[in-house]
């Protein structure tokens, strides 16, 4: 999901840069406040860990393999703000050293993968942990949260590409959301397995973060929530509002297929390829159904991986 330079335009890059700078700045302040000095090197090491972990190939089928992205995992292990810092660090190094993701696109990539992925993942993780207790609950929580975070980050990415006019929203949303609904399953599974492996080796590493400042977290999460909402409002909402037109408007749109697309386009793409328009609606429905299915799968997986329910 690393967007290269040239795929998003100036205004998108600028807006994402501002939002991301605010988000990362806030995360840094939070981390400085709540992280004991003893754990400061852990941020850098966790970033190195994440990078190394992303290199591990989990074979899927034929020659393909999946790999961990890890935003939600790191958030569950270190807290949301630390995760934002860690993933941002990884993205910066990937951009400068390995040219994975563009320089101007850093703002967008940080927003999608460091902020949305980590924070939304963390929120969902804690919400599910609230209902399901013990280590089994955590395993379920992280699997489901990782899936949701992956899909949501992909949708934001699609929004940015569409707002830049690189790809029309209908295609971007449908393609990215659908693909990442599948990729997200791998992400959820791997995150859960790794989380469990860490728990089995050093249970104290898990419980340490669990008890970290509960009431303060709310304020922190609210602020991230505002940033994420802002981003979503800018990139996703304009498009999301246009799709419920339904089959009626497809006929109207048909007439637009001859229109020229300007190079710095307005937010809503003004041409649609026949048939793809309702794919957006279908994708959204699939997403909603998918999340229910994935939640059930996560529950089942939790039972399978943790045979005896145990309190932390």
């Amino acid at each position: 999901m690393h967007i290269p330079d040239g795929f998003i335009d100036g205004k998108t890059a600028a807006v994402t840069a501002v939002i991301s700078a605010a988000g990362v700045g806030f995360a840094l302040r939070q981390v400085r406040r709540e992280l004991p000095p003893r754990r400061v090197p852990l941020l850098g090491l966790a970033a190195a860990f994440l990078f190394a972990a992303q290199m591990v190939n989990f074979p899927v089928a034929g020659g393909t393999s999946g790999h961990l992205v890890g935003g939600t995992l790191v958030a569950a292990l270190l807290g949301p703000s630390a995760a934002v810092v860690v993933v941002t660090t990884v993205l910066i190094v990937q951009c400068f050293l390995f040219q994975d993701g563009g320089v101007m696109a850093l703002g967008a990539n940080i927003f999608n993968m460091a902020i949305v992925n980590s924070v939304i993942g963390y929120v969902i993780y804690r919400m599910v942990c609230h209902w399901l207790t013990g280590i089994r609950g955590r395993v379920t929580a992280i699997a489901f949260a990782a899936w949701c975070a992956t899909v949501l980050a992909a949708i934001c990415c699609a929004g940015q590409l569409a707002w830049s006019g690189t790809i029309p929203w209908s295609v971007a949303f449908s393609a990215m959301a659908t693909v990442h609904m599948f990729i997200g399953v791998g992400e959820g599974l791997i995150s859960a397995l790794v989380f469990l492996a860490v728990y089995r080796a050093r249970p104290d590493l898990i419980t340490e973060t669990a008890s970290a400042g509960q009431p303060q977290r709310l304020g922190e999460l609210v602020r991230y929530g505002l940033l994420v909402t802002l981003g979503v409002a800018v990139f996703v909402a304009p498009f999301a509002c246009s799709w419920p037109d339904g089959l009626d408007s497809v006929a109207d749109k048909f007439g637009f297929s001859h229109k020229m697309a300007p190079l710095l386009p307005a937010p809503a793409p003004d041409y649609q390829v026949l048939g793809i328009h309702w794919a957006v609606g279908a994708t959204a429905v699939a997403g909603a159904a998918g999340s229910l299915i994935v939640f059930v799968l996560a529950l089942l997986m939790g039972r399978w991986l943790v045979p005896e329910p145990k309190d932390l």
């Binding site: 020659g63 050293l97 994975d100 860490v198």
Partner: protein, 213 residues
Amino acid sequence: MAGARTERPVSVPLVNHHHGQPDSLVHRLPAALKLGVALVIIVATVLVPIQWRAWFIGVAGLLVLTAGLSRLPLFFLFRRLLILSPFVLGVVLVNAFQPAGRDKWLAVAIKSVLCLLTVILVSNTTPFSRILRVLKSIRVPALLITTLALMHRYLFVLMDESERMRRARASRTFTRGRRFHWNTLATVVGQLFVRASERAERIYDAMCARGWK
């Protein structure tokens, strides 16, 4: 795209970073200058409309000249540029059926290649610690700089550890079952986190031992 890729042979060096020639005119230029010029090129290239051919030809020329002066192997540069191909292909496919499609995907392709080449040239002729120093001088927060520095320092250490663990596990794996495989790999990754965590504590101790407050 994120999360899925085709199998890569273990022998291919994971580090796509060139260490060969440590010296050339380009290597010796100050990091701040290189980063500044690169930023200007990237931002301008993205913003400038594709119709202004002069700009793109000029930038391409400058980059080719710099590539030549930097003495980085051509094959290496070309291979790094190929990263873009799936993305460009995606955009090409999507826009292929639009009337203005050709202009659009050509614009995206040209801009992304030029920007990518710029970053490749700067990153392979500038040590990372210099880049960090420039970031420090533009007031990037100290915590982020420290984290970047530590990540870069221990990146290769952890990748080596990961590789060694995987090989050790593979040597004792006799079944080919995918489920077992995933479990093993997840355990390796989990171990990697635990080791990273413990190493972080030891680093803190080492810092304190030399007077860190």
